[in-house]
């Protein structure tokens, strides 16, 4: 359980003159939940975009599953088991909930375009396996009753859950959630936090990284929190340490009150 799965060293990224992330150091072990908090524009999403290789870093290194991944592409790290959600819901329109989950398994599908076009028996067998796997993921997270629905017919809270289920379908090593509670009402938010805890129980080897800008939300979810402000890590530690850190209170909590 103490296996280190993801680690960054002095990760930095600037846009034009603006320093979005500066010398970011983090690490996370399998089976753990860590949080990144910070006000708007602190650079949280940029960190995820660097980790998932949507952006190329200016400086620093990223080590994932024992490999340096700085030269790898977004597709490669995704296939290595680095999974993420986005700040705004990105369920695929035109596919029902089950098919949305299947998409996460499809790059790894074994049948060729040829057997797809001719609907060969091998294709049917593989499709059945993909369906079973996607269905069992939905069942595990108690979302199977929505399988045939179009995502747009679900409430925002359930759309988020389906998105997270989809990100989990391919058994990733790391799950990164970018403000999963954004746009949810208080009730939906607390249900979603329970949902994430439930995931930790059901996927014991999964490392989860959560972005949030409301500190109180992830206080009893995470083991360890990084506090970002204007690209810099101004504090890190256990939730209790963060809550009593004067720097955090000044720079972050202070402005919210």
């Amino acid at each position: 359980m103490t296996e280190q799965i993801l680690k960054t060293h002095n990760l930095s990224k600037a846009f034009g003159g603006v320093c979005a992330v500066k010398d970011f150091n983090m690490e996370i072990n399998a089976g753990r939940i860590r949080g990144i908090i910070g006000p708007n524009g602190a650079g949280k999403t940029t960190i995820f975009n660097l980790l998932s290789r949507i952006y190329k870093e200016d400086e620093g290194t990223i080590e994932f599953a024992g490999q340096d991944v700085t030269s790898k592409s977004q597709i490669e790290v995704a296939r290595m088991g680095l999974s993420r959600t986005f700040q705004n819901t990105r369920l695929f329109v035109g596919l029902n909930v089950l098919d949305n989950v299947k998409v996460a398994l499809d790059h790894d599908g074994k049948y060729s375009l040829f057997s797809a076009l001719f609907k060969l028996p091998f294709r049917n067998k593989q499709e059945r396996m993909i369906k079973e796997k996607a269905m069992s993921c939905l069942e595990l997270l108690n979302l199977d009753e929505f399988a045939k629905l179009s995502p747009s017919n679900l409430s925002y809270g359930y759309q988020r859950r389906v998105e997270i289920a989809r990100a989990l379908a391919n058994d990733p090593k790391v799950l990164m959630l970018d403000e999963p509670a954004a746009g949810l009402n208080p009730e939906e938010t607390s249900m979603l936090m329970d949902f994430i805890k439930d995931i930790q129980a059901k996927y014991p080897n999964l490392a989860i990284l959560v972005i949030e800008h409301r500190m109180e939300l992830i206080m009893n979810l995470c083991d360890h929190i990084y506090v970002q402000d204007s690209g810099l890590t101004i504090a890190e530690g256990t939730p209790a340490e963060i809550q009593s850190n004067p720097k955090v209170l000044a720079a972050y909590l202070g402005e919210e009150e």
């Binding site: 949507i54 035109g94 797809a116």
Partner: protein
């Protein structure tokens, strides 16, 4: 069946084929191309020019022409599918103009704008067209409901999100574009066999635009919508052939009619007539059930 009717059925089959191919490319994978008619030109010209000048039977040169289309579309796709979508659409227009320019340049072989005529008669053209159409619909339907179809819909929605699920967006798009272009070139061969003459102006970008119009009219997310709208809209001018307006047959106003229809659809039903619906057995059964229920209800109210 009269020659006119056979010719019409073949023509409509060809149109549906090309629109079904465009459905795979634009409807599923979100690649908006205005150059698919150019691949029809490649199919038609390569098949019959080679056949005549090298004295090879046209079924063989037909296969060669499809292979050349595959190669050409691959060459076009490799550099351009890395670009933004709007650049891709522009380049396909340029490509189709280039193909037509080549047809005029090699006038000695293609007869330029006079048209390449004396194409051999094919006795079972109707059968070949219908079987070809059935096969192509079968393929694209299977494509839609396969892992490739799902990945296409995903990347059409959002390429970055698709990549975050390990989908190789670039190579998938190349595959689908090449497939659609191969189908278009097959349709081009059939069109030459039907018309018995090939002229460059039947493969202009307006022809490609017509395919897109038919697709958008039926609904970009519905294969059956694409089929019905292609068949229906192609047939429509035939009904108004004898109606004249300002001394000209209504058929000549085809493009204007299409333009008006598409403006109406885009404004009042932007997802197309069928939207995301597919007309299949289940859909028909539901319709039948609803129909029965409404009749039962009516009877009840009479009691």
């Amino acid at each position: 069946m009269s020659a006119y009717q056979t010719g019409l059925i073949v023509q409509i089959s060809i149109t549906i084929m090309t629109v079904v191919a465009v459905f795979a490319m634009t409807g599923l994978a979100g690649m908006f191309s205005l150059g698919q008619a150019a691949y029809m030109a490649v199919g038609a010209y390569v098949t019959f020019v080679l056949s005549r000048f090298l004295d090879i039977p046209y079924p063989i040169t037909g296969i060669i022409s499809i292979l050349i289309s595959i190669l050409l579309s691959w060459i076009i796709a490799v550099p351009t599918l890395k670009l933004r979508r709007d650049y891709f659409a522009l380049i396909t227009v340029g490509f189709s103009q280039m193909i037509l320019a080549l047809v005029l340049l090699f006038e000695d072989f293609t007869r330029g704008s006079i048209g390449f005529s004396k194409i051999p008669r094919m006795d079972n053209l109707l059968l070949v067209s219908l079987v070809g159409l059935a096969l192509i619909i079968f393929w694209i339907r299977n494509l839609k409901y396969s892992r490739f179809g799902r990945m296409c819909i995903a990347l059409k929605n959002d390429e970055i999100a698709a990549r975050s699920f390990g989908i190789d967006v670039y190579h998938l798009k190349i595959k689908i574009y090449v497939l659609a272009s191969a189908i278009a070139s097959f349709a081009g061969i059939l069109m030459a066999l039907r018309n018995r003459v090939i002229t460059p102006d039947s493969f202009g970008w307006a022809q490609s635009a017509e395919m897109q119009i038919f697709l958008f009219f039926g609904g970009t997310n519905s294969l059956t919508g694409a089929i019905l709208s292609a068949g229906g809209l192609k047939l429509l001018p035939e009904f108004v052939r004898d109606v004249t307006l300002f001394g000209v047959s209504m058929q000549e106003y085809r493009t204007i009619i299409y333009a008006i229809l598409i403006i109406i659809v885009i404004n009042f039903r932007p997802q197309g007539i069928l939207g995301e619906k597919e007309i299949n057995f289940k859909w028909l059964k539901n319709l039948y059930r609803r129909f029965k229920q409404s009749i039962l209800k009516k009877n009840e109210s009479y009691d």
